[in-house]
Structures are given as C-alpha cells and as structure tokens.
Symmetry: C2
C-alpha cells in the first residue's frame, strides 16, 4: 500500500421510512432550506410529498429549485447560488441522484464564498467553507452521497470538470431503497454500470499488497453480477434495491482506494465525450470501459486483468495464456453489461467520426497525458474512441 | 438488512513516517497535552522518542501518564482524569494499543464532565462532551483507533464494562505499521485472534440479505489466514504488518455491521472471565470462541456456520451433512489459532472449576440472557466455560 489519509464524516441513514430523521438533522444547521431537485420524478413517485410532509410544522422554511440536469450545468448552479445568497438560505437539501447531489456541492461552495463558483470549482480561487447540505437519495449510482466529489459541466467552455473539496461532504444522507423502486430499467442498468465502473477504476492500480481492498472490490462486483439481472426482473424487490444502494455507497466512499491510486482514465475520457456531445454518463462509461481495457492490456499488467477474470467472472485459467484469460474477463464484462441492456457503441448516441477527433483533443486539453494505471495520450484517446464507435 | 445509521468521523493517517502530522493535528485542539501510554514498550522501541521529537518546538506542552494496564483499570482512569482537571489539559494523545486507547476514551469523558467517570461509563450520568483525543497505534488488534467503543475494568466491583459514546471517536489516528515490528509473537498472535473474533462476532447474525457485508467479513478472515503464519515467521515485514493493521481497523469501524446486529456473546463471556481472573482478552477469546460455536450450533443456524466453513476455511461440502461441514469449519478455526500458538484451554491460565461458577454468575449479572445470534443463560455460560477448561 501507499501511505494514505482517510476521513469520511458523512452520516448515512439507511433503510425504510427514515425521512422522519429530516427535521431533526436539518435543524442542527438552520431553518431556511433550499430544496434542490431534478426533472420532477420525485413528484411522480411521491418522494416530494413525503419530504414536504416530514418538513411541515417544524419551523422550517423551504424554497425550491428544480430542473437540475443529468449532467448538471454551471448555469443552473449559478442560478441556485444567487437564490441562496438573496434568500439567506442556511441549508441545502438535495433530493435525487448523483447529478443533484453534485450540483448541491457546487451550490454549497458558491453560496458561502464571494468568488465566482466556476473559479472555486477549477481551483482558481480557494473556498473558505460551504453551506451545510444533506441528501435524500433516489438513485443508486454515483455514490456522491458519501463523498466530496462532484462533476459540473460548463457549456460555455465545453468543460466537464470533476472536482472536490474538504467542505463538500454532506452532513447526512438518507438512503431509502423504496425511493428507487420507480427508477426505470435503463436508469437501473446505468446505475449498476456506474457502480461497477467506480469499483473497476479503483481496482486498476499498481500499488502493492492490497489484498483486502482487492477483496472488497471483487465482493462488490460479484454482488452486482448476481443482483443486476434479478433486479431488472423484480424492480420492486427491497432486498435487491438495498443491495445496489449500499454497493453504490461503498464503491465511492474512499474505502476502496485506501493505500492505492486508481486509474480513472475512462471517467476522464467519458467527461470529454459528454462535454462535446451530451450523453448519459453511464452510457458513455459502458461503451468506453471494455475498450479502455483492451487498449491498455499488455504483458506488464495482464496479471491484474487475469485476477479480475478469475475472481469476479469465474473464468477458468486452465491451459490458457494470461492474455487469453484477461481477454475472456473483458468479454465477460461486456456481455454482462449487454445483458443488462447497456449501450456498446457511441454510434447508438449518434456520435460521428468528426466528433471523436474533437473529443480526443478535449481529453488532453488540461494535460498531455492522463490515467494512472496506464498513461494515455491523445493518440490513445482516439484509438479507444474509434474502437468504441 | 435492518435499518442502520453509520457515521465514523475518525481521520486515519496510515503508513510510514506519518508522525510529522502530529503537531498540526494536535494544534487544532489545543497545546497542553496528556501523553497516555502503557508499560513502556514505546520507550524500548523508539516510538516515544520519535513522538517527543515531533512534538518539540511547536509550543506544545506535554504531561505524561504511563502504566495503563492491558485491561485498563478504573483506578488508573481516575488518576488520569484528576491530572487532566488539575493541569487544564486540552488534548489527550494515546500511544499504544486498544487498552491505552480505551483508557483515553474514558479519561476524555471523565475530564470534560463533573460526574464520576464510572457513572458516565455505566450511563448513570449523561456526558455533555469529551476532551478531544488522538491516537498513535502500536498494536494491530482492537481497532479502538477507529470506533467509539471502550472496555474498562472496575476491580472494586469486579466489573469489566464495554461502553461507548458519540463523543469518544478519536480526532485522528496515526497508524504506522513499522511501530508494530517489535510486537512480540504472542501479542502478534493475540492481535490476529482479536481481529478475527471481531469479524466473527459481526458475522453471526440473523439479518437477511447481507451479501456485501458477508463478503467483507470473509475477505478479512481469509486475508488473516494467509497473513498470520507468514507474519510470525517475518515479524519485520512491512507488507504483512500493514495488512494486519488495516484489517484491525476494518473489523471494528462499524462497516461490517451496517444493517445487521452481531452476536458478541463471546466477548461478554470473556469480559466475565477477565473480571474474575485477569487474563489477556484475546487469550480468553481464543479459548472461548470455538466452544461458543460448538455450543450454539443447531439445525436452525447451521447454514451460517457452513458458509463460514466453505467460504473462509475452504471446507469441501461434498457428500457431507451441513452439520458436519459446520463442525469442520469450527475445527479449522481452532487449528488455525493453535498454529499461531493461541491458547486453547482456560487451565493454561490456571483457572479453576470453582472460578467458572463465579464467572457463570458474573456473565448474567447485568441481564439474565445475553448474545444476539443465540440467547445464552447462566447454564449456557457454564457449559461453554466447562468445555473450555
């Protein structure tokens, strides 16, 4: 392992009928609340009403801001920051999945500082703090509810920026698996792909002596292999929903990279894709990850791929070269995501060959090479994108 | 899973040469420090000197209190509380293993409240807060460095009391595996037994749908099976020491019982043993645990024992009854602990048959039955103790 520091102060409140905790948790920080949510699915599935009910009569004043996009936009963040400042908001309650929670992190930091929020996100300016915020999770996917990370898209500059700050941990996160019953099949699949991708990004590293971390990664992946197809058949299964919801948290709360530095090149490349052509994050990830794997696989690193193939996908190594075992593992991942209905080609989103030139440029805009397991250049980006078309 | 709340704010600082973080971390809380440690092994192995060096010249004043016992005594806690109060201590630095850290938790809560510290520990009085404290860990075992739990022995009343409080999380814990190089073989073995026992206490529960938690438990156990014997051969192996040190933390930081309630009867029974006859905690655990397993194993719960046998101890279930597979797993655990040199019988500590009557009484003193996986009465305690003689 490498030296590491781990601290994650988020209070997870997990299970059925936990909304009753809301007034008490919020009152610790204030009583004027910005309720931040997305396209309104929480109104259809009843979560909105249940939240309003739990907040009623506790001397809590709520101002709403809805319409946070799946890839949350800087323009939306700025609008919400203005509301926080003009209305003297003292707590943000984010209700939704990763996008809404990511947005809440940006709003929290923008609202508590004089500097422009994009300058804070891009670290041109240092924040001195953030408004406190909490989350009610309605999508098992990003795990943003238990980490400090956020991704915001600036459409003016076509930049999709991943960032974090010590101030952007939520004070509490309420995870009720029943709130995800109404998530449609495609989003359920995307959630599982996203969680698995987070585990895989952490899994591909060169740190030595990480048997526990490897075991945790493999446990989560196997659990999702087992759960995913059954969940698509039984979307109202509490047990299956809770399994996915907990795995989403564990995949991204910092535990899996205690003592190691994961790759994250596929996420970087997907951000470049989405910055040029707005596609669902997990859709991009599903397409790119197996192609990243095939592209970077070589004699020096094939042991890691073999371990994944054998331990997670039960590939028999008997009488096969390491390389062949590794490839079988990659194929098994591709097949599993196909089985769930996840996309396999960028053309499914109407991406064109010209666009992938621009995406390849974008992927190395910030620095000439990226990815920790294997450094990628513009040429690598282009090759992976071409294989993904 | 059952509904749960999880929050663990401890900052882990893990790896080689991390003591440099001390002055900065402590200065956040104050500058008058109580340095709490045990029997002086930190003076022999150089950790004491390195701490003093890192604290020198930072306007930090240090008062020392050494001699914290392996089963820390209330009398020692009271002495330390008096020092904190009379010297206006504003931060406690615990240097040692679980006993010293457990003691620090009691001192922290005693120093910040007017009530008698035993009344605070036994919840007769409610604490309003605690002095902040940090830890430098020198023994991989209890995992007390990343939880709020503590065990204190009151020799006047012969009570060994496990307790916790929301105020007794350390502000930071520095875990440098090299600080455990000098831990003697017996203590290294006890550490491994203790960690495995924590995992096992969590593993034996009746909550449904805990595949991730089971996987984490099994990963840690298998990791220790693999690491333990090699570590005894190579006590100065950084990789093996770091593996055990991280596992100690993961076994007791609350992650393994997200959504389930472990048994903990063996710990309760061991506390009764040590309260009557002062033996090393892990020594008692090593003797009692396999006998607890054999005693509680029945047709209703044998699936859990079988899962342990198959997944952790690689027992082949082929052509065997569940009961036989379960027994083979228990035997494998006993053999593994024997291989590490852990004790198997209470008579090795000169416990007598008369004493086990008193211990059986003690085990049900607080309540008539204990243990969550299977309720135990005085009769059960006696049977397990008798099998352990």
């Amino acid at each position: 392992m490498e030296n590491f520091t781990f601290q994650n102060p988020v209070k997870l409140i997990f299970g059925k009928d936990q909304l009753g905790a809301l007034p008490n948790e919020i009152s610790k920080y204030g009583n004027k609340i910005l309720l931040l949510y997305g396209g309104g699915s929480i109104k259809k599935n009843g979560v909105y009403d249940r939240i309003m009910e739990s907040l009623a009569g506790d001397n809590l004043e709520t101002i709403e801001l809805s319409g946070v996009e799946p890839n949350p936009k800087l323009s939306t963040i700025k609008r919400a920051v203005d509301v926080c400042k003009s209305e003297n908001i003292d707590f943000i309650l984010a209700v939704g999945g990763g996008s809404v929670i990511d947005a809440a992190k940006a709003v929290a930091i923008g609202a508590q500082n004089d500097a422009d929020v994009w300058d804070l996100i891009t670290k041109k300016e240092r924040p001195s703090g953030a408004l406190p915020f909490g989350t009610v999770v309605t999508l098992a996917s990003a795990g943003s509810e238990m980490n400090a990370s956020s991704v915001i898209t600036n459409w003016e500059t076509k930049e999709k920026k991943g960032w974090s700050s010590p101030f952007t941990y939520s004070k509490f996160s309420i995870l009720d698996p029943t709130f995800t019953y109404s998530v449609p099949p495609e989003q359920t699949t995307f959630g599982i792909v996203d969680i698995m991708a987070h585990v895989l990004e952490n899994y591909f590293h060169h740190s030595l002596n990480t048997p526990v971390q490897d075991g945790l990664c493999e446990t989560i992946l196997k659990d999702l292999l087992e759960t995913g197809p059954r969940l698509l058949e039984n979307p109202d299964s509490y047990a299956l929903r809770e399994t996915v919801m907990l795995n989403a948290v564990l995949a991204r709360n910092g535990m899996l990279n205690m003592g190691s530095k994961g790759d994250w090149a596929t996420h970087d490349l997907e951000h470049a894709v989405s910055a040029i052509h707005d596609i669902p994050h997990a859709g991009g990830i599903s397409i790119l990850f197996p192609n990243w794997m095939k592209h970077v696989l070589d004699e020096q690193n094939e042991a890691r791929f073999k371990q994944l193939a054998v331990n997670v996908f039960s590939v028999s190594p008997e009488g096969k070269s390491n390389h062949d075992v590794a490839l079988e593992g990659i194929e098994a991942l591709r097949n599993f995501w196909n089985l769930l209905g996840a996309p396999q080609n960028l053309s499914e989103y109407n991406l064109t060959e010209e666009e992938i030139e621009a995406i390849a440029d974008k992927s190395v805009e910030a620095k000439p090479a990226y990815g920790k397991f294997k450094k990628l250049t513009r040429h690598d980006s282009f090759q992976i994108l071409k294989a993904s078309l």
